[in-house]
Symmetry: C2
Subunit: 343 residues, 2 copies
DNA sequence: CTGAAAGCGCTAACAC
DNA sequence: GTGTTAGCGCTTTCAG
């Protein structure tokens, strides 16, 4: 079976030299054609670009990076994949990074293996590192700063005052939920916690509890969280609902916890939602909109957050270090059917 | 506020030269220390390695790649993020790729934007490209072959006979499901389809239908699928269950479809599962084990498939092109509570 | 406006 | 076993 396209010898890509030779120009002239601000005759540039696309030449960013000190690589570090929020986010983020001409190098942080992964990533000299992982602590940003790579923490506070962060206004979101539930006549509020060391968990709780206190509704009880997962939601709900004074409304630190909590409440406790128990989540992942959950939640303005991240990242690669260190985007309450309508 | 660690001037990383100077050796000697099979005095190597970790030197893989023709980058292309199978997979795959000393460059394929993303990826000269996307067709593998980069299709047939593929034995899985359902006494079987052009969809259907025919159970009816998503499962189930002779068992082309189908069957049709309707999925995603679904399904041997992919990839980077073009790993039936026990 | 030459950080011949 | 040299593909002075 013969094949039209024959396999080229491994990696014998067309280079500037080839292009220069075929055009009878010098390599430097050819190179200039790819920079908008380079001095080159418009007509020459046109000839180069035409020929380039003809023979399939693209400048090699690795070689280019060696000299320009810019790899156009954005390192993205993830870890908490049990939370469906992250895959959705990662996809959008990657798309947008590609759209501005950068590429994503993905690292999965494995706390057990040391954070070797981060170091390998850094050896590729990414122009910027974005950390999506809740687990990675300050030593990650130390490692980056040591080699002069700016770090953006996404959906998480910066580990220190040298890093940048982009988050939803989690405290505000928590307060919105408190208002919704108190307005709905609930008095026995509970908070179903995720990872206690996650800033999202802390801020959502704080906003929630403060608003409750401010409205003289006392301090909600809270589960002792361990992770942001379905299983934790299930477990935490059983714990909270098993107490003597059963809560009549649960604010869950995020949607996947809420989903687990709903399953526990309906299956194991035989409760009707929202009649016996109101449930509110945070994030607005796709699952929250599924008919079987139809979860009231606080929507993170993901698109805005990503746009903000991209702006920040692009600015940082250009050396504008003086940007605001912490972006905080307001979230929006999405009322579905796991809460009673406001009176 | 003064800070102990001061930010280095952007990208002024320590290089071989620095290391060589500090050790009073030549750069080549230093370089050799990082290759196990290089000729160098063991004691010299030790000194180099020690000093290197002391001053935080790591060879720059970009510069290295320029000369060795190996970037140690593995390109991973994804698209179908609505299927939770992929995030779980991507994480594990990335971990394993990191474990063998490669790094993942992630591309999200956006059919609308042309497949520019793939070309940008290729400009980084990845040693290998792994395609997780169901959508990407043969032109992707053409583009890769044109530049001499081997392609592995994961969970999908190769688009042509030059590419490699790693899949579950989908036809076998379909047959296992047919046996389970027929043994359970079901006679009105239905197939809830995903993307019709996906090889997984086709193979699972084929294995299922053939086994039914072989056991004289006729040809199951099938929905007309469009995607692998919750919504499609919901919609497809309503369509199949609305027919005159309602099926008493549904084989869904994957788990996320099955989950959507269960919600439709229980909520909209008031059916009990498995009493009124048996449901079987495919993949064994985490959600399949959740108490509210507890889905009988065919487990893809993901770990084996990944191990096979890594072996293949590593072999290919070493130039062993003669490996088996299509790996097919057998899946395993996981019986949970959406099917009646076998008599 | 274009070309020649130097050099980014690294490895691979080739001498010694 | 080690140092010297050349060069990967590219950009960037510096002349012309």
């Amino acid at each position: 079976m013969s094949t039209a396209l024959k396999r080229e010898p491994r990696n014998s890509r067309v280079t500037v030299k080839d292009l220069a030779r075929q055009l009878g120009m010098s390599v430097s002239t050819v190179s200039r054609a790819f920079y908008d601000d380079a001095v080159i005759a418009p007509e020459t540039r046109e000839r180069v670009l035409l020929k380039a696309s003809e023979i399939g030449y693209q400048p090699n960013p690795l070689a280019r990076g060696l000299i320009t000190k810019s790899s156009r690589i954005v390192g993205v570090v993830v870890s908490d994949i049990t939370n469906p929020f992250y895959p959705e986010l990662l996809t959008k983020l990657t798309e947008q990074i590609q759209a501005v001409g950068f590429n994503v190098m993905l690292v999965v942080d494995q706390p057990d293996r040391g954070d070797d992964g981060l170091n390998v990533l850094l050896s590729y000299h990414p122009d910027i590192v974005i950390i999506l992982a809740t687990t990675l602590s300050s030593h990650a940003s130390d490692a980056c700063r040591r080699v002069g790579t700016p770090v953006i923490f996404f959906n998480r506070h910066a580990a220190d005052e040298h890093s940048f962060s982009v988050t939803c206004d989690n405290a505000l979101g928590g307060a919105l939920v408190a208002d919704l539930l108190l307005d709905g006549g609930h008095r026995r509020l509970g908070f179903l916690a995720g990872r206690p060391d996650a800033s999202t968990n802390q801020d959502r709780w704080r906003g929630f509890a403060h608003r409750c206190a401010a409205r003289d509704a006392g301090t909600p009880r809270s589960s002792d969280g361990r992770s942001f997962s379905y299983e934790e939601g299930y477990r935490g709900a059983l714990a909270l609902l098993g107490e003597s004074e059963r809560p009549d409304a649960l604010f869950c630190a995020n949607d996947i916890l809420a989903v687990g909590a709903m399953d526990a409440a309906r299956r194991d406790c035989g409760l009707r939602i929202p009649e016996d128990l109101a449930i509110v989540g945070f994030d607005d992942i796709a699952m929250a909109g599924w008919p079987s959950y139809n979860l009231t939640t606080v929507r993170q303005p993901v698109d805005q957050m990503i746009a903000g991240t991209i702006d920040l990242a692009v600015g940082l690669t250009r050396g504008d270090m003086g940007q605001s260190a912490a972006q905080r985007h307001p979230g929006e309450l999405v009322t579905r059917s796991t809460t009673r309508p406001r009176p």
